[in-house]
Subunit: 663 residues, 2 copies
């Protein structure tokens, strides 16, 4: 555990802890302290000059700082990291110290690995596919039972209730393996169905060599982990019910879904699948992506493929159809009927996965055309199915999936938010990759921005979280009104009438990678407002369908890659997230991957996923009049109905007054 240093910002004399490894610019951004910076944090613009008054820092010399200034303690905040407690003077600090007003006690965080592992309780490592070591008595004239019968006879001593059903593949190598192992062998058994499937046999005792792979098939990104099941069992058995199983993760890998070339979103993939050979092509491409990840996992984990007994795949309903080679056509045609929700275990090789011949593939079950196995896995990982409290589970992307419920009931829906949260339909929008503006602060007096990009490189565009930050800051600084309309009368050259209408320039051409001014337009803001309105209205409608409001919600669980960069206060400011106490929010990150992982660990949780999928009631919003009303009402910042956002409205008194919108 790295030491946590304190950073004291002058002249306002506010002290904040610095996250390990963080630059002073990042600490300031995170803490709501504004420092002008428009190069995204890469040291190029030289605007984020600060002066170190006290304490040791690590800071590389910069051509934009004179030797005299350097000697006087001047540094670039984006290039400076504290080596102990420091005091920093910000020469151009914002007049309005919003920190004091806005910052609440607890700040929502992505849960630690250990905390994530504690979300689901009362399970042990008991995978559906498992290994059993047996020692057989060699055959003799008195006991010349056939090899298979001999093995099954021994296995039935441990599993007297089960029929053992062997794969022909195992039978083919049976005689050699038994004799090669001197009648001591390790059987791999599949307990997913009534019978115990005998799917592999290895000479000797290989019980300790037992691995699984969890795959999250996102429309954009595919993630995978390789897991040490034997080690995991030891960790859990060591009484560490509250301990992390992170050490069981031997490797993690990710890649873009190769299907992106055939369409950004699920609808365009479904359309492509209707073309001649389209379905086969999409299936082939996603297999290829997954196989690349699997190879990477074998490499990083230094694992031999033959020791992986099963793979769990979790994806949305379209991805689930495509990896199985099933045409998703009717997912997009009313009344939106999947070909299937749940499948029995498959042979992984039959799906095209490059694992051992015996390895099984479990496909996380789906609920409906737009609530897929990724959500079911996420709900599993969140543990809400085990608790009395009422939780709201959200996975926000192009499609926003929402679940509400507790251990007693679960209901879900999905709403089409459009691509804004993933940078789509935004003039300078981009996915959350290197150079994407992910955090924005605006000085409400000068309207100058402070921006941070992913990778701290020169900005190339803006991603979803940057967009939400920007909109919230625009709103707070009075740059836009509650309709998202940009004020035309501001004393700043950043607001201007551009080619497609009024816009705010976040970065000037010379500060960017792309050599053009990066601006947000009113049309961009309108797309964002429609997206956030859809998600918020979806939540309200779903809750309303079970007679609840946000006040009844004990916990809000945000899953998905998007959630990782989401600033709750700013998301509340624009009315994307409901105005509930920040401590109620939990970010679980990639819930789909977490859930898939749990499904590989435990046959009970694998079954639980099936139960969750079957028991979840899906509400269709597309033709729901209540949703349309909610959506219309949410096309305001934060909302038409102020009472739904009391904290936002209270905190924004200043700006609201400035904007003259209190009436």
């Amino acid at each position: 555990m790295a030491d946590v240093y304190k950073v004291r910002f002058l002249p306002r004399d506010r002290v904040f802890p610095a996250e390990p490894g963080e630059t002073l610019l990042e600490t300031a951004m995170r803490s709501g302290v504004h420092i002008n910076a428009s190069c995204g944090g890469n040291g190029a613009c030289g605007k984020c000059r600060i002066r170190i008054k006290e304490g040791q820092v690590d800071s590389s010399p910069s051509p934009v700082i004179s030797e005299t200034d350097y000697d006087a303690g001047v540094r670039l905040a984006c290039r400076t990291r504290p080596l102990g407690d420091v005091t920093v003077e910000i020469p151009f600090e914002s007049q309005v110290d919003r920190v004091s007003l806005k910052r609440r006690e607890t700040s929502p965080r992505i849960l630690s690995a250990a905390a994530l592992d504690r979300l689901v309780t009362d399970w042990s490592v008991n995978p559906s596919v498992f290994k059993e070591y047996v020692e057989l008595v060699p055959p003799s004239a008195e006991d010349n039972m056939n090899d298979l019968g001999r093995l099954i006879r021994e296995l039935k001593k441990t599993f007297p209730e089960s029929e053992v059903s062997p794969d022909l593949r195992v039978v083919k190598k049976l005689a050699t393996t038994l004799r090669g192992g001197d009648w001591r062998v390790t059987a791999t058994l599949d307990a997913s169905n009534g019978d115990l499937g005998l799917i592999n046999l290895e000479p000797g005792n290989t019980v300790e060599k037992h691995y699984s792979i969890a795959i999250d098939i996102g429309t954009t990104t595919v993630w995978g982990q390789i897991l040490d099941l034997s080690h995991c069992r030891d960790v859990r058995q060591a009484g560490a019910q509250d301990g992390s199983i992170q050490s069981c993760v031997l490797g993690e890998a990710a890649d873009y879904n190769g299907q992106i070339s055939y369409g950004e979103d699920v609808i365009s993939r479904i359309m492509y699948a209707q073309k001649e050979g389209g379905l086969d092509r999409l299936k082939e491409v996603i297999c290829s992506t997954i196989n690349g990840i699997i190879r990477e996992l074998f490499r990083t984990g230094n694992i031999d493929a033959e020791f992986v007994s099963h793979v769990v795949l979790a994806g949305n309903t379209t991805m689930t159809h495509l990896i199985c080679g099933v045409d998703p056509k009717y997912l997009m045609l009313s009344p939106y009927v999947p070909a299937f929700n749940a499948l029995p275990p498959l042979v992984a090789r039959d799906l095209g996965l490059e694992v051992g011949e015996h390895a099984l593939a479990y496909v996380a079950p789906c609920v409906a055309s737009y609530v897929g196995g990724d959500i079911v896995a996420g709900v599993l990982a969140s543990g809400i199915f085990q608790r009395d409290e009422i939780a709201l589970f959200m996975d926000i992307g192009t499609n926003g999936e929402i679940v509400v419920g507790s251990k007693d009931w679960l209901t879900c829906t999905s709403c089409s938010a459009g691509p804004a949260f993933e940078g789509g339909g935004i003039m300078f929008g981009m996915r959350a990759g290197n150079g994407a503006i992910e955090q924005v602060s605006i000085d409400p007096s000068t309207y100058e921005p402070m921006i941070l990009t992913i990778g701290r490189t020169k900005p190339a565009g803006i991603c979803g979280s940057g967009l939400i930050d920007a909109a919230a800051e625009f709103f707070d600084a009075g740059i836009i009104d509650r309709n998202g309309r940009i004020r035309r009368d501001l004393a700043t050259n950043r607001v201007r009438e551009g080619e497609v209408g009024w816009e705010y320039v976040l970065a000037w051409a010379e500060e960017t990678q792309i050599g053009r001014d990066i601006a947000l337009t009113e049309a961009d803001l309108d797309n964002l407002i429609r997206a956030k309105a859809a998600v918020y209205a979806g939540c309200r409608t779903l809750l309303g369908s079970v007679g609840l409001t946000f006040d009844d919600v004990d916990k809000v669980i945000i899953a998905g890659g998007f959630g990782r960069y989401l600033n709750i206060e700013r998301a509340q400011t624009i009315g994307l997230l409901p105005d509930v106490a920040p401590e109620k929010f939990v970010f679980i990150g990639n819930g789909s991957l977490l859930g898939a992982r749990l499904m590989t660990f435990s046959r009970e949780l694998l079954k639980e996923a099936g139960r969750i999928a079957r028991s979840m009631t899906n509400i269709e919003l597309s033709s729901n009049p209540s949703f349309m009303n909610e959506f219309m009402a949410a096309l305001f910042l934060p909302h038409t109905d102020d009472r739904q956002f009391p904290h936002v409205m209270e905190l924004d008194t200043n700006s609201r007054e400035r904007n003259g919108m209190h009436a």
Copy 2:
């Protein structure tokens, strides 16, 4: 039903019924009336001259009969068929009319198809793989359950207790099939395991189009039948519990097992499988043979492959291993351990069978290394597992498999008879193909033979049944003594000292296909005696192991192609078959094919086969001292112990006296 004509043979004035289509030579042979004939029944030797005294016959003119003789009613018996009751004068009839002495009241017969179908009772057509027609309610906004869930929901109305587990293949075509069939579809379901497997789906109602294939994989010959399951159900449901299901057999085909090129018997096949690529080659070759048969069945039955839902394969343990691609190595090494006895249902395509993708393959379960699925199927077909009476079941070939038991218990053994019964190790031995001498009669006064060949062509060699006939006739005619030694002092040029010792010439070179004298040598007779001794000793030992003798046996069931041509009395004469009343014998022909067929008809009988295989106790003879004693005692004609063959000894008083062996 053809009329049965009566044939009156003069001068002895004996009347026998003629089988429909039979020649007078065949009637005479079958009835124990001797007519010299050494060309095998093809009209070439001209020895079988007879005179028609009364009645109409169908007889083609022959160059060996003069016009005058023809006008006087002289014909060749081998070329003459009765067209009504006839009276026939045999100019050279044997002095000894053995018919009057030997023929008993009831003559054992191959059972009729209807009689075979009655052997097993209390079953109905209820195949393990079956079809179910369902009509679904199309999806709507109110009920947009996924296609698979909708189908399963409907199926569960009929099968509320079962989980339905779909094949991915079905899921892939589900949406199209359901909509193509306007939500009326026929599901093919597999009830072999706990879950109901959903293995196929067809649009519309195809319940009536449901076929199966039964295959008997013999070491030498492979047989197949294609069966109409839907028709069979109608036949059985029509209350015809005693009726024949022969009309359900839409086609039958057979071919030599292509593996013959790699060895005649199972041991040489097992040896070949040990060579590099040998196992794969044998597997490939047997698949190719079976696929040829399957194609033929589809052609003759005019059946589309896609409507065949399952195949049952029955073969000996070696063949069963080879068709599954499993190395049979340890079958031939002490302690003779099969890799497996029973397998769960397989996908037929995985075995290399050219049937529909969904078709399953059931492999008839084996009992031990030398008691295979063909015997289990035969025992099933014989119905002995259902009856109180004690039955002895025999399948005689290179390997003689013997089962004894009743509905309460079954025990079995196998003995290596050597290849004599299949013509192996016999100087002019051949398999039971065209030109093989299959029936022999010897005139005890002139020692002249009467022979019939398969196909009634010129003889090319002698097959197992011909060999047994010849040995029995030699014994009766006093040509050989009880050791099988040929008498040197007989007044016939047929007995002579040949190149390898003393021999009897069955056919002169000019009467044969091969241009050489076809003779039986003392060495041939010795091989036969060893073979019959092994089978007889096997039966005695097996019975003895459960405290029984032949007197306790209520029925002797002879299965196998060899049995089809076996003359019980002659087999008893040489001591191959026990001396029990002929009416106790039942020939069931290819019991393996019959049993395989029953396994395709009924899931209960399929399960029963498994139960039979598991419950059968196998006695190993190879190291059994009791067997060695029995074997040594049986190396005599008919046996060292006369009391075991009272009827043979009584009937053969004449010859025994002639042979001077009564002392």
